[in-house]
Amino acid sequence: MRNIRVIPRLDVKGPDVINTIQLEGLRTVGSPNILAKNYYNQGADELLIIDQVASLYQRDHLIELIKIFTKEIFIPITVGGGIKSVDDARLILKSGADKVAINTAAVLEPNLISLLAKEFGKQCVVISIPCKMDENKKWEVYTNGGRDKSGLEVFEWAQKVVSLGAGELLVTSIDKDGLRNGFDLNLMQKFNEIDDTPIIVSGGLGKPSHINDLLRISNCEAIATADFLHMKRGNIQELKEIILKSNFKVRL
């Protein structure tokens, strides 16, 4: 069977990592350096860093952070939050990130996806899709860290970003984020329609067995988790064991 990656997600706000519920920042859970190093040592397969205050003034801090990470952490690092242009992406990649995650800028200017894929290769381009179900039971794409509606229907948007050159999709269920009651299985089942691009699932992991529930219905290739690790509800090895028990492969 296929390989599944476990990816700790660090939502960084200034000097801190914060925990989120439904993508709203809640509390400080630690320092990015210490948590990142700790997860690397625990056997994280990649790291996902999302800058929550992606204003120009905060950029220097993020760049410094990436530079520090790459001195001691030898796994791939994806960085997202406020990347608006090819130049923004170049700066992030040059600092040592391996991939960039784009959400708002891609919605505003879909052609940016093609430009990024052409400039850096599609393997560098992760499109982040925060999803929330609307009152008509349709999933809508949100932007600006899950705060704003985009009016876009999730699956049409996903097809479109894939055709434009997205190398990977990061699918976050806003409805489930931080609630610890499992992944959004209906959403992820629907995402099986996109079968040619790797998908990272985020939002809802509360206990290891939720992974088993997810893998039974989803064709995803990776699981991103924040709260579960930050609040020390378990560790990465426990998650990998449950993946193995579900008859998938992991890096041990």
Partner: protein, 213 residues
Amino acid sequence: MTNVVTIIDYGINNIQSVIQALQFVGVNTKIASKPSELADAKHIIIPGVGAFPEGMKKLKNLGLDKMIATKAKQKSNILGICLGMQMLFTKGNEYGVCNGLNLISGEVLQIQKKVNYEKRLPVIGWRKTISLPTYEKNILEKNLNEKDFYYLHSYQVIPEKKNDIIAYYERGGSRITAAIASGNIWGVQFHPEKSGDAGLEFLKTFSNLNIEN
């Protein structure tokens, strides 16, 4: 042992992670972006992420293609990583046919998209890598066999001589070449600089090959 590994900087991507990984395991590094900077190099790494024609164009523009060929003849140990490995071959087929460095006979082809349960490209993630232990050239074997490495690619190398393949991984039941060797020329499809301890050990071993020379 203090050895120096020269990393080729042809402006296509971030070479910092390769430098950081080598320094982390105590290897001294040098950067070469013009031919003269390769003059004394005994160990050379060609890193790379991106598309084949763009990579070759940049190497040529800097005059590095000919210098790499010269160093290959002078028996320097040359290691290509990912695109750096693919460019060691005769030709690539990404965005049209493009000549490579031709240090190893063979070509680079897109991976077949759907093979059994595997449908997704690029290949992203960790794969258990199996070395071919019967192969005498494979002095990196213990650093390869049964190790998980990080891969990120849509194209694969197809060597003309099958025994240039020293390691593979499985995708949907078929074999994808993970590492090649031909004399002093080495190549890995995975990213050792992003493969945790297994990758660091691999880089360390490469850096110390034939160090007495």
